[in-house]
């Protein structure tokens, strides 16, 4: 069974580590080249948000399975931090919305790249993003 791994995110260098691990895991799980890149890009976005908006946090990834739709397997990525949290999640999910001079692409973009995207955030307590992609 594929390995689950955890990456501490403290600086921009860790973003590269996280997405390389994601790429390796996705390949191991049998995703094709195009999907592997989509997964790596999504990891890059949420990891960068941790560095940019919460200073530090972690990314945990592993395999995931469901019995729905005739049984599918995939990859699950959890990005967690104890940063400032997001006051208005719906607003943050809007394409182009950014509280710094970013493109405001990270959150909505990561959602488009993955099959499932769940964000839980509380002002002052932190943010947890859980995203999944299923093998086609």
């Amino acid at each position: 069974m594929a390995t689950e791994n955890q990456t501490e995110i403290r600086s921009a260098v860790d973003i590269v580590t996280a997405r390389q691990r994601g790429r390796a895991l996705a390949l191991e799980l049998g995703f094709n080249g195009a999907d592997v890149t989509l997964i790596a890009a999504a990891i890059s976005e949420v990891a960068r948000n941790i560095v940019d908006h919460a200073k530090s946090g972690e990314i945990v990834m592993g395999s995931v399975a469901t019995t729905q739709n005739g049984g599918r397997t995939g990859i699950q990525i959890i990005a967690r931090d104890q940063g400032p949290g997001i006051r208005d999640v719906a607003q943050a999910m809007q394409y182009g919305y950014s509280t710094r001079k970013g493109l405001g692409v990270g959150l909505p973009g990561a959602k488009w790249l993955m099959d499932e995207f769940d964000i839980a955030s509380e002002a002052g307590r932190g943010t947890t993003i859980t995203m999944k992609k299923w093998k086609r």
């Binding site: 260098v13 590269v16 790596a40 890009a41 890059s44 976005e45 960068r48 394409y95 488009w112």
Partner: protein
């Protein structure tokens, strides 16, 4: 890791050698700005063939580099974006509007020749 910058005629070629961290990209921006000034380069090629992901930060930085260089009188062309990387970029909603793109180094040079030969002619 630093990005080597090569001078080729009136152009500069920056070949990204491995996965870039953000500070590398920022440094690249500063170095290119400086060299374009000192060499009076008319064109810059940034070769991203080895990049496995171009995310929103990288896109923003590449765009910023291109716009900054334009203000300094140089055209920028990004070459070598891989099929999967391009696909992930558009899925993210990222484009390189206002920045030239070409398939590879050779095409990048042709692109710059085409772009920069017109500029002086326009004067009359």
């Amino acid at each position: 890791m630093q990005v080597p910058i090569l001078k080729q005629g009136g152009y500069l070629i920056a070949s990204i050698q491995s996965v870039l961290s953000d500070s590398d990209l920022v440094q690249l921006r500063d170095n290119l700005g400086e060299r374009v000034g000192s060499y009076r380069s008319r064109g810059v090629i940034i070769d991203v063939t080895v990049l496995d992901v171009i995310d929103s930060f990288a896109t923003r930085t590449l765009r910023a580099i291109a716009h900054m260089l334009k203000l300094r009188g140089a055209e920028t062309v990004i070459v070598g974006i891989q099929p999967d990387v391009a696909f992930a970029m558009v899925q993210l909603g990222l484009t390189l509007e206002g920045v030239g793109t070409a398939l590879d180094l050779e095409e990048g040079l042709a692109y710059l020749d085409e772009k920069t030969k017109r500029a002086p002619v326009n004067g009359n």
